[in-house]
């Protein structure tokens, strides 16, 4: 579906050439320390910043060759901590940029527990509620998400409490497993990445240094080197990846 063929940037912020393919129904978490190039990579995947080397293709067609409207029906993006200017209501915001009707808007609102807030304006919402609005808007843009659609999210859980984090990650996983979306999510919380992602890409200094199932990538030793943090692994349950806990 989405393929990276030696795609990267040579100018700052640089990104070492990367080759990989995203399959429908896959949830990929991008993790790494601050400044590792996670958001830069998301810009590359979304087509916002065209690659300076290699290419990024959706269905074997370079992203730059897609008509913007056609691409928007297949790929949606939730940027980091966006506060839209002016005072939109939640319903107006969720419908923004989509051709979906009121039923799809209502469904997207319900998916993100926003139905009760639909007529409230953004000024009165908490950071977490606003963040959920932006996810609902992206879902609505994809018309609920057909198989083969691509959803890109930059730290979507950063302002959410743990209950909302869990609900959002479960929703993303369900979108991948049941509806066949490819979901790419930049995450700071390594435990969320370990619990919900099919694959994890570990970034460091503008380079992807490891990729694979969470159990293979998120070892405490490797993470300690990459993040410069001392971590313990705690076994949770059989068959589940270990929880990562900061040493005191």
């Amino acid at each position: 579906m989405l393929t990276l063929e030696g795609a990267g940037f040579t100018t700052v912020p640089a990104l070492a050439p990367l080759s990989d393919a995203l399959a429908p129904g896959e949830l990929v978490a991008i993790v790494g320390p601050n400044g590792a190039g996670k958001s830069t990579l998301l810009g590359l995947l979304s087509g916002f910043r065209p690659p300076e080397q290699g290419r990024v293709c959706l269905d074997a067609r370079p992203l730059a060759d897609w008509l913007p409207e056609a691409l928007a029906r297949r790929r949606a993006l939730v940027a980091q901590q966006v506060r839209p200017s002016f005072d939109w209501t939640v319903r107006e915001l969720v419908a923004l940029g989509s051709e979906a009707g009121p039923a799809q808007v209502a469904e997207s609102l319900a998916e993100l527990d926003l139905t009760a807030l639909a007529e409230r304006t953004l000024t009165g919402l908490s950071g977490g509620e606003a963040q959920r609005c932006m996810v609902a808007r992206a879902l609505c843009q994809l018309d609920g998400g057909d198989p083969g659609s691509l959803l890109l999210l930059d730290e979507p859980t950063s302002a959410l409490d743990i209950g909302q984090q869990q609900r959002l990650m479960r929703l993303l996983r369900r979108l991948a497993d049941q509806r066949g979306l490819a979901v790419v999510c930049v995450l700071h919380d390594l435990n969320l990445a370990a619990r919900y992602a099919h694959r994890v890409w570990l970034m460091q200094q503008g380079r992807r240094i490891a990729a694979g199932p969470p159990g293979e990538v998120l070892g405490a030793g490797r993470l300690a080197r990459v993040f410069g943090a001392e971590l313990h692994e705690a076994r949770v349950a059989a068959g589940e990846p270990p929880a990562l806990v900061l040493a005191r």
């Binding site: 979304s46 939730v78 923004l96 940029g97 890109l152």
Partner: protein
């Protein structure tokens, strides 16, 4: 109540504004230092002088007030969307004074009389506004943050000050006739609206308004930030080029024709946004109608309050807009 939470369809808000504009047209058409009877509409012409006043003076003036008001308020709404900032306005950001300086240069350096001179003024206004817009745009990029807002307002202040200083220099260099022309035009007035000016406005302003209305969806998406808007299918650089060209063309022509009429672009979209919500599909045409309505009413007051003398309409809009702007700043300060 008509508005975003009332359940009334958008069309009714626009219809209401159209009706109000028609009423203002009727009021304006028959008020003035020479009071005319509405029987004129039925072809019952009292005197040839009445007909001449109505056709040669009043009708082009009403047309010009409508077009200039629509353009200034429409530009304000579009610029606020483009800069993602409710305080962006063609006069506050220095666009109008940039256009004004270019027009003043044209008046002083070239022969500004006759239709060719008038269209030269249009071109000068457009180029002046475009130059300022490009400078301000570079300085004010970066979203709705406080820093970007201050940069914008400071850039506008600096440009307004510079344009004022150069305007003073031009007044110093101008001949007596040019000086009279400069000072009458500079106060912001529709007093010299005749058919050549109205036809020029008809040629330039409606296409600019139409072009801005076509940018409504893009301006909505831009409020999500450039990255998200790109993800939703917006070609942001193309949208910015379109909005900048349409607003600078429109504002340049308005300034060339009527001088600097301040605050219309700030006041009208801001009030209408509170009423109808921030969606540009409705806000842009509503602002255009509201701007036309406000300028038409202000111009009728300017013509009649001190009749037979006239108050420059720019002074009236500034008297209305200045306190409103201060109130707006206080509200923002409180909400911060």
């Amino acid at each position: 109540m008509i508005g975003r939470h009332s359940g009334f369809p958008d069309r009714q808000a626009l219809n209401g504004l159209v009706l109000a504009l028609l009423a203002a047209w009727l009021l304006a058409a028959f008020s003035g230092s020479l009071g005319l009877s509405p029987r004129l509409l039925l072809g019952d012409w009292p005197t040839p002088l009445d007909w001449q006043v109505w056709w040669q003076l009043r009708l082009p003036r009403l047309l010009l007030a409508t077009l200039v008001g629509a353009m200034l308020a429409g530009s304000g709404a579009a610029m606020q969307g483009l800069f993602r900032n409710p305080l962006a306005d063609p006069s506050l950001l220095g666009l109008a004074s940039g256009a004004g300086l270019a027009v003043a240069l044209w008046i002083v350096l070239f022969d500004a009389s006759g239709p060719l001179g008038l269209y030269g003024q249009f071109a000068a206004g457009f180029l002046g506004a475009l130059a300022v817009c490009l400078v301000v745009f570079r300085l004010g990029r970066g979203g709705p943050g406080q820093e970007a807002l201050f940069t914008l307002l400071l850039a506008g202040l600096a440009i307004n000050t510079l344009a004022g200083a150069f305007g003073g220099l031009l007044a110093f260099l101008a001949s007596d006739e040019q000086l009279r022309q400069l000072s009458l035009w500079g106060m912001g007035s529709l007093a010299h609206a005749l058919w050549p000016a109205a036809l020029g406005a008809l040629l330039c302003i409606p296409p600019a308004l139409w072009w801005l209305c076509r940018c409504a969806r893009g301006l909505d998406l831009l409020q999500l930030g450039e990255l998200t808007a790109h993800g939703a299918g917006l070609d942001a650089p193309a949208l910015k080029r379109r909005v900048v060209l349409a607003t600078t063309l429109g504002v340049g022509v308005c300034v060339a024709l009527a001088g600097i009429i301040g605050f219309l672009g700030l006041l009208v979209p801001h009030c209408l946004r509170l009423w109808l919500g921030p969606g540009h599909r409705l806000l842009l045409p509503a602002s255009m109608l509201g701007g036309a309505l406000l300028l038409l009413v202000a111009d009728t007051l300017a013509r009649t309050l001190a009749s037979p003398a006239e108050i420059p309409v720019g002074l009236l809009t500034s008297l209305l807009g200045g306190p409103y702007f201060l109130w707006l700043l206080m509200q923002r300060r409180r909400s911060c």
